[in-house]
Each structure stands twice: as structure tokens, then as C-alpha cells.
């Protein structure tokens, strides 16, 4: 926080210094340390200019969210028959064993996704060519998975990983001799979904990291050569510090996305076998759309939303503060 206040103070100082300089005469000398009076025009009609933003935020975020809040505190029997139940649904969602299991499962999935995708993405970015004709072809190849729609990715992997006709599944079973079947085995299903996410989203991390690497001026690498730095040292002391910003964004994006993953596991495994890949979002849609339990679903959504918000905030604060 200290950094924040420091910066805004600086800006304020600058703004006040501005008119003084543009006056063109050292007026402050006569008044000692007195600041010149603020003569900038004040007009509250300027608030009208903010209205479009207020309106669009209301329609896109506040009103839908309040609808959910409204459902989450009532028990709805029919459109005309509803009872206010307070925080009852919240309590039941938190106590629900199935929700708790799905929560831990989703959290575990996100952690694994981050552990694989961040280092792998950075490694790919470092290995990508820095100049020459190879740059554009490398970018296209890396970005390709990002261009495929979620449910198509799911379909591709559903077929690819099948033990009988899928290229991947068949190879693992018949060439490597490992018994692999994601429709029957919980571990295999988990691995398939994880690999699919890695395949789909590591390119995003790689592209962000590559953009970060491109911003490092050439003399840094030249200085490292002159100082006889090894390539590990170059990575550790030149590249990694400069990737801090983009990696913060990459981690946030990948955490949010993987914690809310829905389409791909829904297409590939449908949450199974058993509950092996039924993540929070899959469970939520079952409650909300399948069973049409609007009260519990509303409470569930809000808790889900709150958790993602809090984790992202903590991530962001920790990552932007450390090492300053």
C-alpha cells in the first residue's frame, strides 16, 4: 500500500506544480511557501459524463449479480410462492460433502495446471527464436491451440484419447503397452483433462512470456556476454526479473480460467468416471440447470465467485509486492 500512496502523492505534487511552472514567473517567491490558490474550474455537471459507464456496469454486472443474490436468500417453490430463508442456503452449500469434494478437486486441478503451464510456457518462450524469419512461424505454431473453440478442443481430445480409435489413446495402449482408458479409470480421466488444458493454454503463457522477453533491450544480453554469464544466470538475473509483470498476469488468468473450467471436461468426461472430474462448475450447472434448485445454486455461485475474487486479489498483492 505504501507504494500506492507514494505514487499518488507524487502525481498530486506534479499536478500542483504544473500551473506554477506555466505561470512563467516565480510567484511563489513572494508568498514564501504558500501555494497559489486552486483556480481550476469546478463543475459538478461533469458527473453526467460518467453515466454511460454506470449504466453499462449496472446492466452487465450489478443487476445480474443482484438477481443471483435475490435467489440465494429465498426458497423458491414457484414463481408466485417463495420464502425468505436468510443465509440458510449458504450454510448448506458450505456443509455439503459433494461441494467440498468438488472444491478440493478443482483447487488441486488449478494448482497442477499452474505448476505445469507456467514453467513450460516460460521454457517455450525462452526457446523461441528472438529474430529472423523463424519468429513468425514459431508464433503461429505456438498460438494455434488458442484459436480452437473450447468445445472443439474437448471433442478433439475425447477422440484423440480414446483407447480404441484415438491416436493418443491407441498409442499409449498398444505401443507403450500402458493400460489407459479415461472412460473407466479415474486417474486416466484426470490426466486426460489436465493434458488437454496444458495443450490448450500453455501457449497463452508462452506468448505472454515471449512478449515480456522481447522487451529486454539487446545491451542486457551483450553485457551478460561480456560478464561471462552462463545461460542459466542470464535467465535467472536478466530474463526472469523482467518477466515478473507478464507472469503475474499469466498466473492470474490461468488460475481463474482453470478454476472455472467447464466446457472441456464436460465434453470429454462429463464429470466422470464417478465424480473424478466433476469440478465446481460442472456440479454448479447440475444444481442450477439440472435440478433447477435456484436458491442453493445462487448461494453456490456467489461463494464460488467470492473465492475466485479473493484468491486473485491475494495473488496480485503478493506478486506485485514481493521483491520491491
Amino acid at each position: 500500500m505504501s507504494d500506492h500512496t507514494e505514487r499518488s502523492e507524487g502525481r498530486e505534487h506534479h499536478a500542483k506544480g504544473g500551473p506554477r511552472v506555466s505561470d512563467g514567473h516565480p510567484a511563489t517567491g513572494e508568498h514564501g511557501s504558500d501555494r497559489p490558490a486552486d483556480t481550476r474550474p469546478k463543475d459538478n455537471r461533469a458527473w453526467i459524463l460518467v453515466l454511460p459507464v454506470v449504466a453499462s456496469v449496472a446492466f452487465t454486472a450489478v443487476i445480474p449479480l443482484m438477481t443471483v443474490v435475490n435467489f440465494s436468500v429465498q426458497d423458491v417453490f414457484s414463481p408466485t410462492d417463495r420464502i425468505f430463508v436468510g443465509l440458510e442456503w449458504y450454510r448448506s452449500v458450505v456443509r455439503d460433502a459433494e461441494v467440498r469434494a468438488a472444491f478440493l478437486r478443482t483447487l488441486m486441478f488449478s494448482v497442477q495446471v499452474l505448476l505445469v503451464e507456467i514453467p513450460l510456457g516460460v521454457a517455450i518462450a525462452v526457446a523461441m527464436p528472438r529474430r529472423g524469419r523463424a519468429v513468425s512461424s514459431a508464433l503461429v505454431v505456438v498460438a494455434l491451440p488458442l484459436l480452437i473453440p473450447w468445445n472443439v478442443v474437448g471433442t478433439i481430445w475425447q477422440i484423440f484419447a480414446r483407447a480404441d480409435i484415438g491416436l493418443g489413446g491407441w498409442t499409449v495402449n498398444h505401443v507403450l503397452g500402458v493400460d489407459f482408458n479415461y472412460t473407466l479409470d479415474a486417474h486416466d480421466a484426470w490426466t486426460t483433462v489436465l493434458l488437454m488444458d496444458v495443450w490448450h493454454w500453455t501457449p497463452l503463457v508462452a506468448l505472454l512470456a515471449y512478449a515480456g522477453l522481447r522487451s529486454i533491450p539487446e545491451p542486457y544480453y551483450q553485457a551478460a556476454q561480456i560478464d561471462s554469464a552462463s545461460s542459466w544466470t542470464v535467465f535467472r538475473h536478466i530474463q526472469l526479473p523482467r518477466l515478473r509483470g507478464v507472469l503475474t498476469i499469466a498466473i492470474l488468468l490461468r488460475f481463474m480460467d482453470s478454476f472455472m473450467i467447464y466446457t472441456e471436461p464436460f465434453v470429454v468426461t462429463g464429470g466422470g468416471p464417478g465424480n473424478a472430474t466433476s469440478f465446481l462448475s460442472i456440479l454448479l450447472s447440475k444444481v442450477a440447470v439440472g435440478q433447477f434448485d435456484l436458491g442453493p445454486a445462487g448461494a453456490f455461485s456467489l461463494l464460488y465467485f467470492l473465492f475466485v475474487q479473493v484468491v486473485c486479489f491475494v495473488f496480485f498483492v503478493v506478486l506485485t509486492r514481493t521483491g520491491r
Binding site: 542486457y220 551483450q222 553485457a223 556476454q225 561480456i226 560478464d227 561471462s228 538475473h237
Partner: protein, 367 residues
């Protein structure tokens, strides 16, 4: 400590269509301080990067003593280089930054500590040693970069690419003399790239002036000032630069319009008659109150009071001529004065290259 020998070294960035650095052969002697002086884009930095090995020359070979290093990578050349803008390992403390090149080379710990402390003392970084380098202001960051270039005592040469550009002017003077001191103490070969003549002239034992990828003159600072071998050197060094006046050489006599100003001397062989340009520094233009021969009548257009001297501007046939005169003198714009040149300090140029000097005219008579 070895001599650096460039043997026909040239570089082209576009496959030989144009030269960023024209092929040149010359030797940089051990333990001397060199300045590469020239405007942006003249090839200074290219030459520096070729010496440090960041760039492989298109043609020619480089020798460090009797070892050929043309294709030897930078790390194996044992060169230190400081860049125009601060290049730091931002996560490290100032101490670690300075120690970094030594640690990478496996120096013993005690020795590293001794060198780091010596360099930080010289550069006034003592009180900052344990601060994170990215928290320093840019000027001080540059000093740390400079320190990293100076910390190794065994380098073949220290190459400095306009290292004081970002440093605040007051500190620049101090640092320049610190650099000179360090150079005297360590006996490193220093190559200092700059576009600032004062920096080059005060710093270097030998200044190489570059223009369009060519070294047009190389010599001691006083030599460049007193005896420029190329029009560009005359323009670029000195403040203001050299006066250039179109003239004609007729049978050994130099004339401006119809006025003879002196006799051509020091020419290589017989200089054929024809158009030449007279180059004379404002320091060596005299103004006489009475018409004396040989004297060039010119109308004064302006007088600048520069503090230590006055700068008199005049015009001859649309050509400008300036003279530095004592502050006590009084010349009024519009007056016609007689200008003449100090013998042996006015030179003749043809095709931008010096081809002779103007000696006093014996038996001076006006035509």
C-alpha cells in the same frame, strides 16, 4: 596488456552495399586512452562492438597481441564494455552487480571483495553497496554499470560507449577525472566513444575522428585542434568550428576574390592551380584597424559577447567568417575591417582533404 591490431577491418550491415565502417588498418596501443569521436551513425559503436566481439566484421581480422580473435566470442576475449544506458542485474545489490563478472570467472572470494571495494571507493558508491540496484537513480545506476566495467583488473581493454550521457552534468566532470585517474592507476587500454568534443579532447591520449565510417584523422587533441587534416575535423572540433572560405590558387598564390591572402606552402609536390578552400580557426583570425596587406576586407555583421572573449562575425561575398578577439576590443556591426590569418595556422583544402598551408606572403603587394 596487449596492443589491439585491426587488419583491414570493415563492416557492412546490408551485405556489402554500404559500409557502416570502411575497411581500416590501425593499431590501438596498450595502456593508452583512445577516444572515438564523431556524429551519430558514423560507425563509432560499430567499431567498438567489433573490438568487443559483439559483432563479427564483414572483412578483415582483429589481433589482440599475437592472438587472432576475429571469431573468438566476447566472453573469451577478456574485454569490459560499458553501454550508453545503465545495464544492471536489477534484482541484485550494487555489491553483487560489481562482483558479478568476477564471480562468473571464478575469482577467489577475498580477491573479489578487495576489487569491489576498491572500485566502489573510486566511484563513490561506498554508501550504496548494499542497496538494490534498481532503486538507484539512473545516473547512479550508470555509475554502477561503469564500475562493472572497471572491476576486472586483467582486461585487454575497457570499451566505453558514451558512458556519461545519462549522468548529470555536474557529476560528469568528476567522473571523467575519476576515469582518467583509474586509467593512470590501472594502465588499462581505454576506448571511449563520444560525440562530445570536450569529453574526447580532455579525456584521451589520442582522438580518432570518424565520419561516415571512415577515420578521417587520428592524433593527439592539440594536433587535431592546431592542424586538422580534414575539413570535417575542422568543423567538428573547436567551438565554433573552423571558418571555410572558398578561394583560388593561382601560381602558388592564394586569392579570395581578387585579394591575395598568402602563398601556398607545405604542399605535397606542386599543387595545381584551381579552386581551394581556406580553413582557419576563429582563434587564428586577426583584425587590424588599418588596411594592411595581406588583409581581407570584410563587413562585420554581428559581435557575440561570450564572456572570456568576443566573437566577431563578418561576411565576405556572402561567406561567413568569425574571429575570436579580446574582450577589450570594440567592433561595430556594419564596419569594414581588415581580417588576416596567422601564418601556418590557415590551411588549404581540396576535396575536403588538407593539401597545404598558407605562409606569409613575402614582398606583399596588393594586386
Amino acid at each position: 596488456m596487449v596492443d589491439i591490431h585491426l587488419d583491414g577491418v570493415g563492416h557492412s550491415y546490408d551485405g556489402g552495399r554500404t559500409w557502416a565502417l570502411r575497411p581500416m588498418t590501425r593499431t590501438l596501443h596498450a595502456a593508452r586512452a583512445y577516444a572515438l569521436l564523431g556524429p551519430s551513425g558514423c560507425g563509432k559503436t560499430t567499431l567498438l562492438n567489433i573490438i568487443s566481439g559483439l559483432l563479427t566484421p564483414t572483412v578483415g581480422r582483429i589481433w589482440f597481441g599475437d592472438r587472432e580473435v576475429t571469431r573468438v566470442p566476447t566472453a573469451a576475449r577478456n574485454i569490459a564494455q560499458v553501454f550508453q544506458f545503465p545495464v544492471l542485474y536489477e534484482g541484485m545489490s550494487v555489491y553483487d552487480n560489481l562482483a558479478f563478472p568476477l564471480r562468473n570467472r571464478g575469482w577467489p572470494k577475498a580477491e573479489i571483495d578487495r576489487r569491489v571495494r576498491a572500485v566502489s571507493h573510486l566511484l563513490g558508491l561506498d554508501s550504496h553497496l548494499h542497496r538494490r540496484s534498481r532503486r538507484l537513480d539512473p545516473g547512479r545506476q550508470q555509475i554502477v554499470s561503469l564500475g562493472r566495467g572497471l572491476v576486472r583488473s586483467d582486461v585487454a581493454a575497457v570499451l566505453l560507449d558514451e558512458p556519461l550521457t545519462v549522468v548529470d552534468p555536474a557529476l560528469r566532470w568528476t567522473l571523467r577525472s575519476t576515469l582518467k585517474e583509474i586509467h593512470r592507476d590501472t594502465g588499462h587500454t581505454l576506448v571511449y566513444v563520444t560525440h562530445d568534443q570536450t569529453e574526447a579532447l580532455t579525456f584521451a591520449d589520442e582522438v580518432m575522428v570518424l565520419q561516415d565510417g571512415d577515420v578521417v584523422q587520428s592524433g593527439e587533441p592539440t594536433e587535431l585542434f592546431l592542424s586538422p587534416a580534414h575539413e570535417f575535423v575542422g568543423h567538428f572540433i573547436g567551438s565554433p568550428g573552423m571558418n571555410m572560405i572558398p578561394a583560388d590558387l593561382v601560381d602558388g598564390v592564394v586569392r579570395v576574390g581578387d585579394t591575395p591572402v598568402g602563398r601556398a606552402a607545405d604542399t605535397d609536390g606542386a599543387l595545381p592551380s584551381g579552386p581551394v578552400r581556406i580553413g582557419v580557426r576563429p582563434e587564428f583570425v586577426r583584425i587590424s584597424a588599418v588596411p594592411t596587406a595581406p588583409g581581407l576586407p570584410a563587413r562585420v555583421t554581428a559581435v557575440d559577447r561570450m564572456g572570456a572573449y568576443h566573437l566577431v562575425h563578418a561576411e565576405i561575398d556572402g561567406r561567413r567568417l568569425s574571429a575570436k578577439v579580446d574582450t577589450g576590443s570594440r567592433y561595430a556591426p556594419g564596419a569594414l575591417e581588415y581580417f588576416h590569418f596567422v601564418p601556418d595556422r590557415a590551411f588549404l583544402f581540396r576535396d575536403a582533404i588538407r593539401c597545404g598551408t598558407i605562409a606569409a606572403q613575402d614582398g606583399a603587394e596588393r594586386a
